[in-house]
């Protein structure tokens, strides 16, 4: 688990050596080459992606990270397929600043699109080189060569292994564009290959960063107030330093960490320092709810989209509605953790960050080290679902390790620290207005959106919690909106429907009352919730069936097929009371996903049960259909938890959702009865990420099903039992927006 040392890696020899020794120069060749697909454009050399050892062992290098989404297995499938080898003959090296290409952050459902596409094309290039080498070896034409299972077969029966062929071959060459895919032979892409990471996970193997035990490893805890914007009152640090097992209390400015021999001793010391009490360090938090605060703060108005069309006629029927989402937590089941080792004025950090390269830059600045003296190695942690505490804890561990050179330091946040300090998903408000013409079609559309930024991922020391605690502190970068077409808060605010006379405006609120950043899907879940709820409201006003109404405004053929497939598989025309439909194409660039949901709502308790869900998804060419189903099922359940249960809560001084009792999430008794996911495969079409496709449609399908069941439209998340009960028995003085 500690990862092979650089020396052991180099000793493996063969083609990867050239890659490892010349990485620095490699990336600079990019600008002289023609356009290459995926991240090959950024790292065009074949040995950046594929190594073939003289024993025939294939190694795939990806700058993306396994987050539990099945990335490793899918990338192995892609390489094995194109190289005509067994998947078991392929090993994979993921995000490591010393070994893999810089592919930025593993986020936004980009991994298959960026890295998968690069590896597909790099492997096709390598296959062509191997076939050419075999033809030369046998002195026959290349069309007489058949590659299978790592062996080149000549038509006359002679064979030579890939391992023998690579001895005379350099992969330290740039990829060529437009190399054809392998045709015929054993199929690996499209198969439900079992995930390579699962056996260790179900048997107690070393599967996680949290399971790494390095020789002489020390344990550390970072010392902070209960949540962002607070600080601890001065404590008797001397007394705590004298507690048994405490090796050092590391302090820089306001940053404080405890390093101990034993983990429990570090925890006890932490509790003692926390007992001194805390105070708010920044401005008080808004007490009227984060949504109301965001809606009323100064905002910069940015045009999101403007679809032309004649103005709506004066007699058009116009509907207006406001939708909202509270701040949400990522809520990793395992609190963030990192291990750092400081040796010879260099630091190695084992991290579950989604972006080892950006993290490396931020750490180098924080620690005052040249970039080449910082190595970040990704090791899997608990699922993160976006920017959680992973980067911050890496910085905490690095600072602690600097105080004890030569000894690895494992620093893990406590549950309350993860709940208190992770950047939250931003609160959002969407106000919509649309008009129906005489033909019951949409003739005007306006989408107004208020939110903070959805990305404060660290690229500098100021983006790390520890950086802001230094003396003098590093300054966080000014928050910026992410531009379309991907968008941040604005993601999926541009409707996929063919709408005339449609405009979107983003009211970007720069000031952040609480720490926020990227949560899986960014603004997409909220925007799709709003658009797809509103489409149902419009369909209702038009007296149209919700599915037919969508199809009447939908031109994209693949979108139409996904909508129709979900409706057919569910048996939509025969639907009973309490069914809802919703559809979106993630970012209008990635996977298409439609969700049909059936609910039962208990009017007395306000509890929602979901007996049945049907989804259809088009992710382009399906590398591992079961992996896609797993992502879509997970996205639906996670989004149900967000939409039914979750809201970060605050008082004037701090976050009040400090653990799973104060921030409840969906548990087994409330998950759906069944979920059926239909994958529409599109062979040879580009890979489209699926990890964030279902969250928006699931949220809106739920809201539409609840509206269908109750005849009452709920537009504020969460659709909690309290809100549902209140909808039937409205309290006279009920506030417009709930706290949170």
């Amino acid at each position: 688990m500690s990862g092979p040392s650089r020396r052991a890696f180099l000793a493996k020899g063969a083609l990867t050596v050239a890659f490892a020794l010349s990485r620095g120069a490699a990336a600079q060749d990019a600008d002289v080459l023609p356009a290459l697909p995926g991240d090959l454009a950024k790292s065009p050399l074949l040995d950046s992606w594929i190594g073939v050892g003289d024993d025939g062992q294939v190694t795939v290098f990806t700058g993306k990270a396994e987050l539990g989404q099945g990335l490793k297995t899918a990338l192995i499938q892609i390489a094995a397929h194109e190289l005509a080898v067994q998947p078991s003959a392929v090993e994979i090296v993921t995000a490591d600043t010393a070994r893999t290409p810089d592919e930025g952050v593993t986020a936004g459902s980009h991994s298959l699109q960026d890295s998968g596409t690069a590896i597909l094309n790099a492997a096709a290039n390598v296959r062509v080189l191997l076939a050419d080498a075999a033809a030369w070896h046998f002195a026959i034409a290349v069309d007489q060569i058949d590659l299978r299972d790592g062996i080149a077969h000549a038509a006359d029966g002679r064979t030579v292994s890939y391992g023998e062929l690579v001895s005379g071959l350099s992969l330290h060459v740039a990829a060529k564009p437009n190399v054809p895919r392998r045709d015929g032979g054993a199929k690996v892409i499209g198969e439900n290959l079992a995930r390579i990471d699962i056996p260790a996970k179900v048997s107690g193997g070393e599967a996680y960063l949290q399971d790494m035990r390095l020789p002489g490893m020390l344990h550390a805890r970072v010392v902070r107030g209960p949540s962002d914007g607070t600080r601890l009152k001065p404590a008797d640090v001397e007394a705590v330093a004298a507690m048994p097992g405490i090796i050092q209390i590391v302090r820089h400015g306001r940053f404080t960490a405890i390093v101990a021999d034993d983990e429990w001793q570090a925890v006890k010391a932490l509790h003692r320092l926390q007992a001194a009490g805390w105070e708010r360090a920044g401005e008080p938090l808004p007490t009227n709810g984060m949504r109301a605060a965001i809606r009323s703060m100064p905002a910069r108005e940015l045009e999101i989209f403007d679809y032309p069309g004649p103005p709506a006629p004066a007699d058009a029927h116009t509907l207006q509605a406001r939708f909202s989402r509270p701040c949400l937590m990522h809520g990793s089941i395992g609190p963030s953790c990192a291990i750092a080792l400081w040796e010879d004025d260099s630091v190695t950090v084992w991290t579950h960050s989604q972006g080892v390269y950006p993290l490396r830059r931020a750490l180098a600045e924080l620690l005052g080290l040249p970039l080449e003296r910082v190595r970040c190695v990704h090791v899997e942690g608990a699922g993160c679902y976006g920017h959680n505490g992973a980067d911050d804890v890496a910085a905490d561990a690095a600072l602690a390790a600097r105080a004890v050179p030569g000894q690895p330091v494992r620093l893990q946040w406590m549950r309350e620290q993860e709940h208190g300090w992770e950047p939250l998903g931003s609160a959002m408000i969407v106000e919509m207005s649309a008009s129906l013409g005489a033909d019951r079609r949409i003739v005007g559309w306006q989408h107004d959106l208020w939110s903070n930024t959805h990305n404060t991922r660290p690229t500098t020391a100021g983006g790390l919690l520890a950086g802001t605690e230094m003396d003098p502190p590093f300054v966080p970068p000014k928050p910026q909106p992410i531009p379309m077409p991907e968008g941040g808060a604005t993601r999926n605010s541009n409707p996929i429907y063919a709408l005339p006379n449609a405009r979107g405006t983003f009211h970007f609120v720069e000031r952040m009352p609480v720490r926020v950043s990227a949560l899986r899907g960014l603004g997409a879940q909220m925007n799709v919730f709003a658009i797809e709820s509103f489409m149902d409201e419009l369909a209702h006003a038009a007296g149209a069936d919700p599915v037919a109404f969508r199809l009447a405004h939908l031109e994209d053929e693949r979108a139409r097929e996904v909508v129709q497939t979900a409706a057919d598989r569910f048996g939509w025309p025969m639907r009973g009371r309490g069914t809802g439909f919703a559809f979106a194409r993630y970012k209008n660039l990635a996977s298409y996903c439609a969700v049909v949901m059936e609910v039962r709502v208990d009017r007395d308790t306000g509890e929602i049960q979901v007996p049945r869900v049907v989804a259809a998804v088009d992710s382009g060419e399906a590398v591992n259909p079961d992996g896609i189903r797993n992502q879509i099922e997970g996205g639906i359940v996670q989004s149900l938890s967000w939409t039914i249960r979750e809201a970060a809560t605050f008082d004037a001084t701090h976050r009040t959702g400090f653990d799973w009792s104060a921030y409840p999430v969906l548990r087994f008794p409330a998950v759906p009865g069944r979920i059926d996911v239909h994958v529409i495969d599109r062979p040879k079409q580009p890979f489209l990420g699926a990890g964030e496709a279902a969250q928006g449609p699931a949220a809106a399908a739920l809201a539409n099903a609840v509206a269908h069941a109750l005849g009452i439209r709920l537009r504020d998340m969460p659709l909690s039992p309290e809100r549902i009960r209140a909808a039937f028995r409205p309290a006279p003085a009920a506030p417009r927006q709930a706290a949170g």
């Binding site: 987050l67 539990g68 989404q69 099945g70 079992a194 995930r195 990471d197 699962i198 056996p199 996970k201 179900v202 048997s203 107690g204 193997g205 070393e206 599967a207 996680y208 949290q210 399971d211 035990r213 344990h219 048994p244 034993d262 983990e263 429990w264 001793q265 990793s332 089941i333 395992g334 609190p335 899997e380 942690g381 608990a382 699922g383 679902y385 893990q412 406590m414 549950r415 079961d626 797993n630 992502q631 099922e633 997970g634 996205g635 639906i636 359940v637 996670q638 149900l640 938890s641 653990d659 799973w660 009792s661 999430v665 548990r667 087994f668 008794p669 998950v671 759906p672 069944r674 979920i675």
Partner: protein, 164 residues
């Protein structure tokens, strides 16, 4: 020194008596199965069996164990190293995403199926309620428990059978 029995073996550990069992399992005995999730008994990632009953190992001080026998995920495998039926079923159903919660899920489900290998669907869900999964793998986890129940000679019933 404190003595404890884990997966059929007796260990002597030199830790402070209030150290939670979870920390002993992970740091003294190098067992990976039980995970730190919350330290508060709210998520179930640390679930182990104490004399066959599922408990949150993050809440049990090691000195409070007495003679009770601890079983972890690792202890559900047969002596020759063959994984237990639940581990096999979870792999067969590909019932993991990040998988951080899965060890706790398996151990808690083991407690149920050892007691009753023909539970109802509702009983399974109620039994697993203390354990959180954040990736939304619940449907697969339920399928894996059904498959394991069948492997153990039983099965999960859709609804409670009518009493005569």
């Amino acid at each position: 020194m404190i003595a404890l029995s884990v997966n059929g073996q007796t260990h002597q550990v030199d830790v402070e008596p209030d150290t939670p069992l979870l920390y002993v399992l992970r740091n003294e005995l190098a067992l990976n199965g039980a995970k730190f999730g919350c330290g508060l008994g709210q998520c179930g990632a640390c679930t182990v069996l104490l004399d066959g009953k599922p408990v949150f190992s993050c809440l049990v001080p090691v000195a409070a164990l007495g003679n009770r026998k601890v079983r972890t995920l690792e202890g559900l495998a047969s002596p020759d190293g063959k994984p237990g039926p639940l581990s096999i079923a979870f792999e067969a159903e590909q019932a993991a995403q990040c998988g951080y919660c899965i060890a706790g899920m398996i151990v808690r489900a083991q407690a149920l199926l050892e007691r009753n290998n023909r539970p109802t669907e509702e009983e399974v869900r109620a039994h697993l309620a203390p354990n959180l999964c954040r990736c939304g793998t619940h449907m697969r986890i339920l399928r894996a428990v059904r498959r394991a129940a069948e492997m153990m000679g039983g099965g999960v019933r859709a609804v409670a059978e009518q009493k005569p």
